[in-house]
């Protein structure tokens, strides 16, 4: 009896000791130094990209290809949002930030280096069953102001419009507000969703819904309406005819060096741009 108790104590003691050692061990191991470039030009080390969730899927594919091309490198891609991307670069928690809108004045004051990765169109999406084929910017604005509340007012069937909005601070919303709403604010009666996917899900299931999503994720489950008679296509965005478009930007806190520079160079090269195009964005340099 006594013996068993004793062993039990040793067991507890042992496991606690093990746990504390594990904790100490974890605390002791520090993050490896980032962005090393070997003497021979061999790339190694790791970098982190953080920021816009719209740019994230592009960064992920680019990172994957980059890591295959340069074994021994590690590119971590995180989301967080455009503003987070700027914060992360300024606070040095990420080597490269991604932003899916033009930088704000106060952000430009941080002396960031900008590299335009691609252009992205914002599609105005409705349910495929919706009869409306096109809208003018003015009509679109009035829909989002809450002045037009029935589809019959813009040539559709007699049904209330389900307005879908993104959350305050979203890069897509920022771009939409800037490009469509100007100084006016979106009706607060609108449904708010915090991801492109969630917006799409609602438009797919509600035949009276309208929302704005990245052109890159538009597929045949939703219908992108023409704006001012112009279809939302890559050519129309590069030519500047389609009005609701925005840039995807990589930013760094200072002149990029080492791995960060190699990655940005790769992303802007023909090879990188081809990936970007394949993933659905629009390249400035590559058709």
């Amino acid at each position: 009896m006594f013996n068993r108790k004793k062993y039990f104590h040793y067991f507890i003691l042992g496991s606690l000791l093990f746990m504390s050692l594990a904790v100490i061990g974890c605390g002791g191991s520090e993050k490896k130094d980032t962005a090393n470039q070997g003497q021979s030009g061999e790339l190694s080390g790791s970098i982190t990209i953080a920021g816009s969730t719209s740019v994230q899927p592009f960064s992920e594919v680019l990172a994957e290809e980059f890591m295959t091309k340069y074994p021994g490198t590690e590119v971590n891609v995180q989301g967080g949002g455009s503003s987070q991307g700027v914060t992360a670069v300024v606070s040095k928690t990420a080597d490269i930030g991604s932003v899916s809108r033009e930088l704000k004045e106060e952000e430009k004051a941080e002396n960031l280096k900008e590299y335009t990765l691609a252009l992205d169109g914002i599609a105005i999406a409705v349910n495929p069953a919706n009869k409306v084929e096109g809208l003018t910017l003015e009509q679109l604005k009035n829909i989002y102001l809450g002045n037009i509340t029935n589809w019959s007012e813009v040539g559709g069937s007699d049904a209330d419009i389900t307005l879908v909005n993104r959350e305050a601070g979203s890069g897509t919303r920022g771009a939409f507000e800037e490009l469509v709403m100007g100084e006016d604010t979106i009706s607060d009666k609108a449904i708010v969703q915090n991801s492109t996917g969630a917006v799409k899900t609602i438009i797919e299931s509600d035949k009276n819904a309208i929302g704005y999503i990245s052109l890159a994720v538009t597929d045949d489950k939703v219908k992108a309406v023409k704006i001012e008679g112009i279809e939302a296509t890559a050519d129309n965005i590069i030519s500047g005819q389609y009005k609701i478009a925005r840039p995807f930007i990589y930013i760094t806190a200072e002149e990029p060096r080492g791995l960060a520079k190699a990655f940005i160079d790769y992303a802007l090269s023909d090879e990188g741009q081809a990936i970007v195009v394949e993933e659905g964005a629009i390249s400035k340099t590559l058709k």
């Binding site: 003691l13 601070g169 979203s170 009666k189 708010v192 969630a198």
Partner: protein, 288 residues
Amino acid sequence: MKKNKLSEGLVEILLRISAGASVLAIIIITVFIFYKGIPLIAKVGIIDFLFNLKWVPTNGSFGIGAMVIGSLAVTFCSLVWSVPLGIMTAILMAEIAPPKLADVLARFVELLAGIPSVVYGFFGLIVIVPFIRNHLGGVGLSVLAGAIVLGIMILPTIINISRDAILAIPKEYKENSLALGATHYQSIFRVILPAASSGIITAIVLGLGRAIGETMAVLMVTGNAAVLPDSLLAPVRTMTSNIVLEMGYAAGDHQAALFATGTVLFIFIVILNLAVSISMKAGTENGN
């Protein structure tokens, strides 16, 4: 013997450190939430922050009034149907059902408690929301959808705690009541339920706490428009969804306002916890 004493002491120290770590975590979180949130509340003014209905954080208008009401509305509506249902189920399981059936029911309730909230949300979005849109009108994403999903989610809490409270009532209560000529149902409703009332109130308050703190499922089915809902079918935003919705992109005052929302939520939860300990204390003083 000496060796034994040494290990005893060592174990005690380690246990103390472990306990201290969890207390420290709570203190750090509390201090952090208040530290981040209070400055903004002070800047906006507590009255304005709590009762102003205008939430345009990118434009400097920080009023969470609509969200406070939204949280309360969704929570209240979910309690309205899940409390009676939960208590009735608890009575069935504790008093009426044969032990085997009660056991099966208990397992189902456990299963219900184990489903992740995002799954409830997804179910709500795919099944309940379209049902409301097609049969009751509106956009489907609504107070009602939130109340239905939340109600299902808090059922296990209400059922389990109410059942335990009923089972804790001494058998003599029921035997005496039956001996005095009361029927089974009279005994349940006139004798057992009143005796178990403090436990049942605890169940309701804990359910309330879970409902008001629930985030993911509510976010997915309520539409999140930051306005006062004018009907059960109107979209609504709760305090929890407000934080999750906008956290990713918020910076500066906007982020502080979300922490401030968290501060308010935290105070709500503390009040609820106090209510639970008071009702539990009342229960023990009643002789349970």
